[in-house]
Amino acid sequence: MTTIEPDIVRTWLTKMATRLKTVLADDLDDCMMVGIHSGGVVVARELHQMLGLKDPLGELNISFYRDDFSRIGLHPTVGASNLPGPVDGRTVVLVDDVIYSGRTIRAAMNEIFDYGRPARIILAVLVERDGHELPIRADVIGDAMDLHTGQVVKLQAGDLSLQISEHPDQSGEPA
């Protein structure tokens, strides 16, 4: 198992915040930041604070929108989503810890559109790894990692360190 120290993760977060300021430009004050449960919420909380956003942070729990219900049933960590207000016409900054297959982001976007019609969605992720299965890419990333299928990246909520471990079950597919 490899651990990436919190200091390094923080430099990635700073880089992301700087990049978001450029991408958002005039929309910075008016954007709505939404983290995907659970790792994305941790990253979003940091970015939200760094950017000093006015609106409270939103949370999405995409369990009811996942595309693997017919394979694994209801996700054990189902939870409620909570957006701070209407999304119509807003710029939404969608945040996750890792982008891999892109399926989580697809589910999250489907859910956002059930709340309304945003003006645009910007995707910010801490770690981008190979293995895309959908034409979905992040606009802002902290770091790109070249990992093989059996490896799992996990953000530790407590101290913001990142752990890369070998997945015990090699049949696992991108999350």
Binding site: Y65, F69, I72, G73, V78, Y115
Partner: protein, 330 residues
């Protein structure tokens, strides 16, 4: 599992497969239903009050006995999960033309239905159907005879937990015709399984079954003493047809002794909530002012009923999806 007789409601992993009665389910499963429902309740914040979870599934509502509220909330729950819904009014269907129940079921299976929601005037009907359906079909009991009405009980538990929190601190009174009420039976089992501090029932002696002692329930024939200090008052609908059968005095006399009036409600805790499964008989078991009053959560029960039914449906279908993915029915 330790139980020698396998509970038909659970699959081999102990997950909810059919929802027929709360009696044999443990606290873990009941709590899982309530927690899942909690997450579905948030759907009302969205412009599009739907999730795509059961897209492509077909739910058949088989109502052998009429019930507008239960049927419509099941229908809405299924639709908010993106399932397709068939409403089959069994009282006007082929069963009247002599087709047996099993033939009807086989036909619905041939139409590729995934779930049957069953309402029947006979106790045990939903169990019977669950025993005879194809393995990939889930059965939900929407009320059978005098036996059970588990989704109503769970929406009541959801309402209590929402307003009052921890069951272990609560005194709950269930009032009215306990003997003929499947709602009451299911409620009493659920309240006990969830660890309610004190469960009271009140009603005329002729309408209180004798087996209640096993449930750790306190029986009152005097309504005023039953109300003393309770946190939750659940009124049951008086089935007025019972009055013909000498089990009951007149409606006026019943109201005088067991009607929940503004005056009487003062005997309960000041922040007590008033519940009723509906439809209410105003002026028979409950005063209109109480039903519409600030302590009444009767309409909230209806709203929560949709989330609870969504939870039960998605948990049951979830267990089948897992079994199918693992090739168990192959």
């Amino acid at each position: 599992m330790n139980s020698p007789a396998h509970d038909i409601q659970l699959d081999s992993q102990g997950k909810l497969r059919h929802f027929l009665s709360v009696e044999t389910l443990n606290r873990e499963i009941l709590t899982q239903i309530l927690d899942t429902a909690e997450n579905f309740a948030g759907i009302n914040d969205k412009a599009i009050k739907k999730v795509p979870l059961l897209r492509g599934k077909t739910v058949a509502n088989l109502f052998f006995e009429n019930s507008t509220r239960t049927r419509t909330t099941f229908e809405l729950a299924a639709k908010r999960l993106s399932a397709d819904v068939l409403n089959v009014s069994m009282s006007t269907s082929s069963t009247k033309k002599g087709e047996t129940l099993l033939d009807t079921l086989r036909n619905l299976e041939a139409m590729q239905c995934d779930m049957f929601v069953v309402r029947h005037q006979d106790s045990g009907a939903a169990h019977f159907i669950a025993q005879h359906v194809a393995p990939h079909i889930n059965v939900i009991n929407a009320g059978d005879g005098r036996h059970a009405h588990p989704t109503q009980a769970m929406l009541d538990m959801f309402t209590i937990r929402h307003y009052k929190g921890d069951f272990s601190k609560l005194r709950v009174a269930v009032v009215g015709d306990i003997a003929h009420s499947r709602v009451a039976r299911s409620q009493l089992h659920a309240l006990r399984t969830l660890g309610t501090k004190e469960i009271r029932v009140a009603g005329p002696k002729t309408l209180i079954p004798s087996e209640l002692d096993h449930l750790g329930v306190k029986v009152y024939t005097d309504f005023d003493s039953a109300l003393d200090g309770v946190d939750v008052v659940i009124m049951l609908r008086l089935q007025t047809e019972r009055m013909k059968g000498a089990l009951l005095p007149s409606a006026d006399e019943y109201y005088a002794r067991y009607g929940l009036t503004t005056e009487r409600l003062k005997l309960a805790a000041p922040d007590a909530i008033v519940m009723h499964p509906g439809p209410t008989n105003r002026g028979i078991e409950i005063e209109g002012l109480v039903a519409d009053g600030p302590q009444s959560v009767i309409l909230q029960q209806v709203t929560f009923g949709i989330a609870v039914r969504m939870a039960v449906m998605s948990l049951a279908i979830s267990s089948t999806e897992i079994s199918q993915a693992q090739g168990k029915f192959a």
